[in-house]
Symmetry: C2
Subunit: 193 residues, 2 copies
Amino acid sequence: MAVHTARPSARERLLAAADELFYREGVHVVGIDRVIEHAGVAKASLYNTFGSKDELIRAYLEGRHAAIEKRVTEGLAAYPTPREKILGVFDIQGARFQNPEYRGCPFISATAEAMPGAGSLAAADAYRSWVRALFADLARQAGAPDPGALAQQLQIAYDGVAVKMRMDGDPAADLAAGRGLAAMLLDAALGPA
Amino acid sequence: MAVHTARPSARERLLAAADELFYREGVHVVGIDRVIEHAGVAKASLYNTFGSKDELIRAYLEGRHAAIEKRVTEGLAAYPTPREKILGVFDIQGARFQNPEYRGCPFISATAEAMPGAGSLAAADAYRSWVRALFADLARQAGAPDPGALAQQLQIAYDGVAVKMRMDGDPAADLAAGRGLAAMLLDAALGPA
DNA sequence: GCTCTCACAGACAGGTCTGTCTAGTGTTGG
DNA sequence: CCAACACTAGACAGACCTGTCTGTGAGAGC
């Protein structure tokens, strides 16, 4: 590997540019030309590396998935019990609402107008399965009688608060509402804390 | 008014075509040419009537808003108490999940990649305010201590179930999960029924 | 030195997009 | 009969889209 001033590879710069532009403005609105210009990369490099815009979008979403999974997994280590970890997921994700760059869930936005077979749909499915499995696993550890059903409801709260935050944009109120919703679900499924 | 075979006006045919195509495939994906072809209308008629695609999108969403408001308002008459009316909103909207043409909330989809100032954003704001006011009004009638806060949480469940249904697509389970979530919120805010 | 790989720069093709404009048609009311 | 009106048909402009292609240059390994 290069020892001095290692300029990021074309692939890395493309992913960074795609992440920024696709998330801020949307995968349909942003064209290839803007991505390569922002990345300082030749068009041929994009097509050699990813093959198509659809694959670039998929890679962008997979990167988002990996970043969220890492942030949540590492953040949850600070919460002692399964029950607190579930609420912790809302806290960790809700902390992002304060960021004025927050634009809602990238998977919901990118797949809102996806055609059947689009790469964004596969990436979103994988992400949503991970969220559901995380909630179900924690619910099982917390002793929920039906961890799968509780996970479904937690995911509804998880999606709903992201949508509400994007469209209505009241960080403190939306985080509190989502967290409160999750707490009520836990009280109902597990008994009051 | 015409007595026989009154062919719908260009405006009506445009709105019908826009409603079908925009909802099924998305407002960004569907171009003007496809709308006018499907409506059997000249391009000039579209621009004389609506002025721009953005205004057509706004009119499409306003039509959706009016239809939902009518369906929900009329449907709620059958529910006796405010508490049952709140659950009724989920039942009435959830009934649409059975329809294989269901594609999620049109406002979430249309605004997912909207640029600031787009007509879709204004239409979505109006729609969301109506939903929130409806929930808040029913919550107040039901005796909730903080109707506004309860309405926010009900809206999170309302949005979340639409997203989950669009992306995961399990009509019976998603309706049950959303309705159960709303019922828990009511139990927590008002005491068990 | 020499080749091989990677990446840059940018022209180009072929298509689609929104929006404008001209010109013609049919109906209706006076 | 005729003028107003709403609509149709479609060419056109200008921009943008994705994806392909050619040619150039810089650095690494032999």
